[in-house]
Amino acid sequence: MTDLLLSQIKPGGESPFGTDEYVVNMGPQHPATHGVLRLVVKLDGETVKETMPVLGYLHRSIEKICENRTYPQCITYTDRVDYVSAMSVNLAFALATERLMGLEAPPRAQWLRMIFVELQRLASHLLWMGAFAGDIGALTPFLYGLRERERILDLFEMTCGQRLTYNYIRIGGVMIDILPEFVPKCRAFLDYFDPKIPEYEELLTYNPIFLERTKGVGVITPEVGINCGVCGPSLRGSGVSCDVRKQHPYLFYDQVKFNECLENDGDCWARYKVRMNEMRESVSIIRQCLDRLEPGPIETKLPPILKAPPASEIYFRIESSRGEMGIYLVGDGTPKPYKAKFRCASFSNTFVLDQLTRGWKVADIMAVLGSLDMIVPEVDR
């Protein structure tokens, strides 16, 4: 395979500053690109002239695969679309399929889903916080984030037996009911977790180096953000109210109290603050859900073979940890979806990277990329 991309890039003339334009290749194997994103960066000295993300190093053709799997089987693949926040994608697909077929899960299942999705949001944000800090050089918060995440994974594993690819939220309900000891353990975790957030804030939030690296860097203005399709916490950092949980409530999000976290600066620090605050909100949501959890069935009775009506379609969105997670399903009367499209937040969030980094330094690419919370398989699928 020839590297056609590089041959297309012009070597670049002499810039007036007496510096050569310099094409640096970051990735596909690069510590800071969170996997296999490849960035071809045109530099003038250390200043970024252009960032060109090269995608597809993890394009696993999940959408094609889903066209040849039954709806329940597709759920296993949704785990792998966004492995850091697998429950959210599970949920999105399950809800989309339920809507497509006119089903509804029983209330207990809905509450359970909410608990698990919010726990997943915590886990995802923890990993994000660590990775973001790691990108700008602080290595220890990464391990702290993973340490707390392990306890969330324990809860998941206790319930569904897996640590990363759960396959837990199913069409019409959830896979299995929680164990009786789940609720106290979950509460214990929340109590353990509460004092941890201030600790991270001590480590990072007002650390002068952290402030230097993030304040004013990679500013997304609301107009650019909306126009470029930025979504989720990254857009909320610019002060745009875009939380799907508020705007278009699914599950029982309209029955719990929580705030939509907004910051107005639109820089990396604002995005960081939004996510830190979202963790606090998630904790409060989980507490409310645990309070309202009542016994009941966890699954609706499904037809033996799950078929979507012919020529039906649905675009269903939820708020995943990274932003708007949309599932577009087209049914054709068979047990397999005719078309399944995963609209992932990272895909549109990464698009804005080039605009955010132009004129900044090389190191800022890492900070901006980190703050956008990009997960490569979500971009490539």
């Binding site: 395979m1 056609l4 875009c242 708007e324 005719y338 078309k339 549109s348």
Partner: protein
């Protein structure tokens, strides 16, 4: 504004630009657009106060080999009004061409590149229409229904 109202509003406002507007069983407004009015309609939907579709959620395509068409599907969302709209544009499957929406929503850049990459729909006027997922020298369009390749094994049963 309920979806029903939205549908009738669109029907009355853009009578000459759309082919049909239906409310699906899943309570979604689905509008089939006339190809020549595609960009203009999107521009109006984005800017007209009653609609405010500032956010393009998703742009994708569906391949219908039987009808020999590829449908480009856009999902629009309004942050202010909190309503959703599905736009559909049919293009010819043999020589698929569609106008680009890049000038309306910048975010379509990558979505259209993806559709170009996987379905082969050429978006005219696109600033940077290259393959995005597949290698640059790849020649096929993998998400079309009749796609085959070596090493592409279809799941038995």
């Amino acid at each position: 504004m309920t979806n029903d109202e939205l549908k009738s509003k669109i029907e009355s406002d853009f009578k000459d630009k759309i082919q049909s507007a239906v409310l699906s069983a899943q309570n979604e407004v689905i509008v089939a657009v006339k190809p020549e009015a595609y960009v203009a309609l999107c521009q109006e939907l984005k800017e007209k106060p009653g609609y405010d579709f500032q956010h393009l959620s998703c742009l994708t395509a569906v391949d219908y080999p039987k009808e020999s068409k590829i449908t480009v599907v856009c999902h629009l969302w309004s942050y202010r009004k909190c309503h959703q709209l599905t736009l559909k544009l049919d293009v010819d499957r043999v020589n698929p061409k569609a106008p680009t929406l890049e000038r309306v929503w910048k975010s379509t850049n990558w979505f259209e590149r993806e559709v170009f990459d996987l379905y082969g729909v050429v978006f005219e006027g696109h600033s940077d229409l290259r393959r995005i997922m597949m290698p640059e020298d790849y020649t096929k369009y993998p998400l079309r229904k009749d796609f085959t390749d070596d090493g592409f094994i279809i799941k038995p049963n």
